[in-house]
Symmetry: D2
Subunit: 261 residues, 4 copies
């Protein structure tokens, strides 16, 4: 069974390249299950019901989130009623939405998808290591595959979590930096890993946003209004082969597609 995982979708250009290319890519790669990070899908900040429905309508099975999950208040209208949407599991206490959900795919396989947020250079949530460890122990006997989207800044935290979970989860992909890394591989105990999936949005940009205001902010340290950039778009992520005999990842491959204006 092949699955597709797509890096942070940024605004309209990110949605446009998906609309143009996703179903063809799914067909060509014989994809049974598609996950995408949608924390920047609505104008670069958060997610709305309309955009969520649009993305799911394109053939995405699960949307994951990140530190921008609450940026658009509209999410509170639907996060509790949408099983195809998961937010970082390590938000403390009684938090709207869910951080893990189990889906069916392939020959009736149970796939758990977990979303978590790092803590290095990021807000103080519950420990992602402890939290994921507990949920993995809880669900491991009921599921065939476990896929983790670890939304984090520091490469050390991403690699540490991957090695900590190596052999206990099927796939761990990083998101958040919006720059695709070239280190996709199967770790020693069998977990498929990449430090960052990259970004699905405008190419000529800084992490999807228009360059000028971001450069200005570095130069003058005053607040600036950041807007999603325009122009040609990229779609980045990985295709994974999962072996349905032994429930292992057998291959991970990066992709980066381009769509001209």
């Amino acid at each position: 069974m092949n699955i597709l995982i797509i890096g942070d979708i940024v605004g309209k250009p990110g949605r446009a390249i998906l609309k143009a290319m996703l179903s063809k890519i799914q067909r060509e790669n014989d994809i049974s299950f598609t996950i995408a990070n949608a924390e920047n899908a609505a104008g670069g900040r958060g997610l709305t019901q309309e955009i969520k429905d649009d993305l799911i309508g394109m053939g995405i099975d699960v949307l994951t989130m990140g530190n921008h999950v609450w940026d658009n208040k509209n999410i509170f209208n639907f996060i509790d009623d949408e099983p195809r949407l998961i937010r970082p599991i390590n938000y403390p206490g009684d938090c709207p939405g869910q951080g893990m959900h189990i889906y069916k795919a392939g020959f009736n396989k149970n796939i758990a998808v977990i979303n978590a947020s790092g803590r290095v250079y990021m807000p103080a949530l519950d420990c992602p290591f402890q939290t994921i460890n507990e949920v993995v122990n809880d669900i491991k006997d009921q599921v065939d595959f476990i896929i983790v989207d670890f939304h984090a800044e520091a490469t050390s935290e991403k690699m540490a979590l991957a090695h900590y979970l190596d052999g206990r989860v099927t796939v761990l992909v990083g998101t958040h930096t919006h720059i695709q890394t070239a280190d996709e591989r199967i770790l020693p105990q069998g977990t498929a890993y990449i430090t960052d999936l990259g970004m699905t949005g405008p190419v000529d940009s800084i992490l999807g946003m228009a360059k000028g205001p971001i450069i200005d902010k570095f130069l003058n340290a005053r607040p600036a209004r950041f807007e999603v950039a325009t122009g040609p778009a990229q779609m980045q992520g990985v295709v994974l082969q999962l072996d349905e005999e032994n429930n292992k990842a057998t291959h991970i491959e990066r992709f980066s597609y381009y769509l001209g204006d």
Copy 2:
């Protein structure tokens, strides 16, 4: 003219793969000039005179540094007398060593190499944008090529600096995260760019260090003794083609070599 830039060399395994493979790679790629980041060359932290001499003896022309520059006090013995070593230029005030130096290479070309450190999630140095802007304006009429090693954590700061300098420097490569990124390209105004060169050191590691203590620190938040990992090594970086007619970068290509135990 082809130049080679090598990502952060970590400890003995990093030096060993260079010893084994560097001269062959230089020959095969017809390399005229080699730069390597050496901030982790001595046991993962800093640089000593002996290791500096060893690396230069292998055929590296310039060593750049980063936030670990002062970790090994031995560097104060030689940093002021070694033109082949540069440290982040944006250390404030009267700082030992130099942040930029001009070298000769190819058909008598002047190559300026600048090392700078980011400030996002890193110590508060002088502004890298301002500092590099000034030095580039100072030297631009005396040099043919300008190469920047920007040692920084945040992908936004790296991309912002690259776009800010686009067309004004020949090459800008990122270091520090120890994970190679897959985004090497020529930016719109002609600067060759990659967000991170990656790492030259032990493969089965977390950023070059043994995995156990780093995972433990994430789990228990207590101090741990980090040591360079052992086992097979990787050597990562980029090869650049510089056109000596018009003094532009014409190609940037990532590499990742592997050396078994």
Copy 3:
């Protein structure tokens, strides 16, 4: 000559206690010159022209700012035309407004007021130590007194700057933490110092803001809408005696006034 320096004014309750008590306090303490930090004067975030005029109309001679200086965009309308308003001097480059201004007070004395922002746990501005050192060297022969409002988080940075400038500035007061410290004193070389002036605003609050949403944010890590609290107000700061014979601070005294509902 006695001068009064008032800690961060927060919203309407902060302005109300000033309106009720400032002129009486000035009279009773024979105050010749009054400075107040106004970075939170407009609804807890920034400053507007109307509120600036209101504060100056109450008898405040100079308003200083801090990290919230740009929170209310209205400030861009008047910051370049208002000599009685200063913002942190260490904003880089070409920045609206001014970071230092020289005023007349007492028997025709020249008083320089400098506002600066710390960098520990705060945005990466230019170095406050370097920047203030330069301006102090520039103005020292033209002025009788130099007063610094150092808007910073870390006690170490505040004390380090104070000892660095000790004997070269007349007064250094800290702002930003909104909690008055009990360490007012004359430092060994003669500079009057306090780590934090405290806050002028609602008493039953967390730093001037309503308690509930701030506690909630610590508990659930989700964004919350912070609003200025209501109820009884406090007015905090220091009264300083400056000797006009030898241009030295001779006394520093904390105050904390209370105004019931």
Copy 4:
């Protein structure tokens, strides 16, 4: 019943002023129970068995710690066997030592002492709000008084925790900034509070350490060797009156004693 709580003891000068003055202060204030923060007692960093025994021998009943708890490895030799020593309770997982202990004092009263560390601008531990809430709920029926030493940087986090626990703990004192605050009071629901107790150590210093190297570090951003300062010492903290009839704090009073060379 009166209790004494002493701010961070720094090195030999901190221990010297305690040796000289503690028993007299205890006698004069009729103190039944004494707590002191000892995270900097051994040369400014951590605690050793010898120094722990020395401090307890002086008449301190409980030593609390903070972010420096593990700085001196010697603590691992005794932390599990010393009921009079508590470390931040919100260290995750299986951690040596204890974060809460119940003592006897006064007319056979049970006093729980809890130590916790903040997370704003500090390492990512478990949530102090959640952790303390749970332990308070666990012990509230077995104890008469609950005293919290909250070791934290940000004034917002300290005040938020205090208001969150107001009425459910007897006393909450802040430590860590080493600067005594002037805001001691009884909060609306009855908890006695101060944002920071201050520091017990050398007066002419930056937070207890020699000034020169700290100022240098701010100026040049290079590592420096910090050492405990010398000269006259101060002893800071609070005296609390606890009413043994209704188990409430009735008074909190700051002190700052001085001992010449």
